[in-house]
Symmetry: C2
Subunit: 130 residues, 2 copies
DNA sequence: AATATACTAGTAATAGTTATCATTAAGGAG
DNA sequence: CTCCTTAATGATAACTATTACTAGTATATT
């Protein structure tokens, strides 16, 4: 894996985020620093960075993948109205059962995804006003 | 909501499944009984059936939505090799923390999604052979 | 400096899903 | 049962997110 300016700018821009931007959101921000970059390059590098464990690719509900500068295992809340994704505190850990012993199977478990969904604080407040 | 033959055949076909078919898998099976049905009708009815709580739409990892004849809350395992989705036993319930009190927030929590992923038993066995 | 090749920009292609619209058929009223 | 309103359908186009392709460029190794 070579160190290109594109890759490092994409990573830097992602690391300024506390939320979980989509590829096209990152694309438009990165373009402010590298106006000639192409969307494909953004996707390609996000893929590499996540498969090498530097960042994390989130495949939650909704139709767009999200990218997380924090590759540590943690949980998320997704607002079904505004599509925002919020982090849940990293020390919040649920003790998940061993499904292989429960079901007498020999799967290889690589990980889990736990997502809460509903209305975020802001959207919930807006709903009451209607 | 009117009772059309298309809707009832789609539901019947889905209910024969123990797995979690995609819209196009259901489309090809339904066409054996209703050769003139269109894919849009399948999507439209799956949407209605799930929003009325008869079935469940799954938005897990991977790029296709899956449909589940069982609308009760339960967890799934997803194989990242063959994309199969397996049910975890319905009585397997994890005690999930109240994230609002944890984070002092006023979100409205409508539900959670818990997904295990990895290699299913069959794909895990095949990997050993290579 | 020369070289091999991973990476890029630009663009085309693909896949999944949703929208449009003229036509059909549920199902309630009379 | 017949008429009527309108939800639903089939056919197709449009859309969105993502991936593939390719000739040219830039990285990093020799
Ligand atoms: Mn996160
Ligand atoms: Mn299921
Ligand atoms: Zn919101
Ligand atoms: Zn598998």
């Amino acid at each position: 894996m070579r160190n290109t300016e594109q890759k490092s700018v994409i990573l830097e821009v992602l690391q300024t985020h506390k939320d979980h931007p989509t590829a096209d959101q990152l694309y438009s921000e990165v373009r402010e620093r590298l106006p000639k970059i192409s969307l494909g390059t953004v996707y390609r590098n996000l893929e590499k960075l996540s498969s090498s464990g530097v960042i994390m690719k989130l495949e939650l509900g909704g139709n767009q993948k999200r990218f997380d500068p924090n590759p540590m295992d943690h949980y998320h809340f997704r607002c079904i109205t505004c599509s925002s994704i919020e982090d849940l505190p990293q020390d919040l850990k649920v003790d998940l059962p061993d499904i292989n012993s429960e079901t007498r199977s020999n799967r290889v478990i690589l990980g889990t995804t736990l997502e809460y969904y509903g209305y975020c604080e802001e959207c919930a407040a807006n709903k009451i006003l209607n």
